[in-house]
Amino acid sequence: MNHPDTEKLSDYLDSQLSSQESDSIRVHLDQCAICKNKVANWTAFREGLESANPGVSGGEDSFVNEVMSRIEAADYTPLLARPKLVRKEPSAGILAWIDRSAVVPSLGIALAVALLSIVPNSIPETSGGQQDSYVAFSLESMLLEGFEEESPFMVEGTDAFSFVEVIEES
């Protein structure tokens, strides 16, 4: 019997095959215990992931309560008060030609470049490592403003390194 390889079975599992290919795999699985077992194992593994023990800090309620009290303890209101971007309307008026999403990151990069070119020269060389961390910190705080709104995936990094990566990729 010709068994489909792992790639085919994996594609089948993830609905990456044409319906014709998918049908032929299904027919094969009905007849072949080996391949059927393979797919069954993957399924068992997938289901096993669901049974991961979500920690020891207690049930759902206590988790929710803990997070909510941490939110209340820290005052994040100013951050939330920023203009929201969900379902934004097309802008009108004098500034309509400015696409904010393009301008803000560009400004961020321009400022970052300017800072990089000025700061190292303005600090005496003797300050060494201190100087580097100052530059990195400034970069981070400036870019946070520019990039955080760009993409849902940019919120990851809280360290300067991540944001330096972001510049290079954009």
């Binding site: 993830d14 023990n53 979500p54 920690g55 020891v56 997070v67 971007l85 969900v86 379902r87």
Partner: protein
């Protein structure tokens, strides 16, 4: 892409999960952004299980993984204004969790010191032995993958990300996602075969810590 797992016999909780409308989430996000801080608890209740489970599957230390889950929700709350609705809220939140766990692993370099936390309490109605065996097996298999492969595996199998979503999130090609999943699954095959051969919870010759089977 739809998640047509059902016709392959995957009656997964995940299917119910995705069928819940993203619109509901967006409405709650709007509420929170307009000042109703308490409304965030709705999102917390809805997604806490999924996010905590992800962390538990990614970080094999239940105390740490729950801390991480808390931080992920705090991060989501703080960044809520940056959620632009271009992805589903769940995808956005899950991406934060994936990045946060990755950051955590990078910073703590727990890889070297990874141990299995067998101190978790089991509820009384479970068969402790069977439950622990399968859980330990899954953890052992998970831990045999590199961090990025584990991340890809969990994004796909646990969060139900599409290939496109994984590729965009990790900034790799769709082809690479597909190839890696194939390799990952090949490795799962081998691990299962070994498990079966050793007919226990021993895998790759590693003994469980004493007391794990209590």
């Amino acid at each position: 892409m739809s998640h047509s797992w059902d016709d392959r016999g995957y009656a997964s909780e995940y299917d119910c999960f995705v069928s819940i409308s993203n619109e509901e989430d967006l409405a709650v996000v709007d509420k929170v952004l307009s000042g109703d801080r308490e409304a965030f608890a709705i999102l917390l209740e809805k997604y806490q299980g999924k996010v905590r489970g992800y962390c538990a599957n990614m970080i094999f230390n239940s105390v740490e993984s729950d801390d991480l889950a808390q931080e992920i929700f705090l991060k989501a709350y703080k960044s809520l204004a940056s959620f632009d609705g271009s992805a589903k809220f769940s995808t956005w939140l899950f991406s934060i969790s994936s990045n946060h766990c990755k950051d955590h692993l990078r910073k703590a370099k727990v890889r070297k010191f990874m141990r299995f936390d067998s101190s978790q309490e089991l509820s009384a109605d479970e068969d402790p032995l069977a439950d622990l065996e399968s859980r330990e097996s899954i953890r052992r298999i998970l831990s045999s993958f590199s961090e990025q492969n584990r991340q890809i595996l969990l994004l796909r199998e646990y969060y139900g990300f599409t290939y496109e979503e994984i590729a965009s999130h990790l900034k790799i090609s769709i082809e690479s996602v597909r190839a890696r999943l194939k390799r990952i699954r090949g490795k799962i095959d081998k691990s299962f075969a070994e498990l079966a051969r050793e007919s226990g919870i021993k895998l790759r010759g590693i003994e469980l810590k004493p007391g794990a089977k209590q």
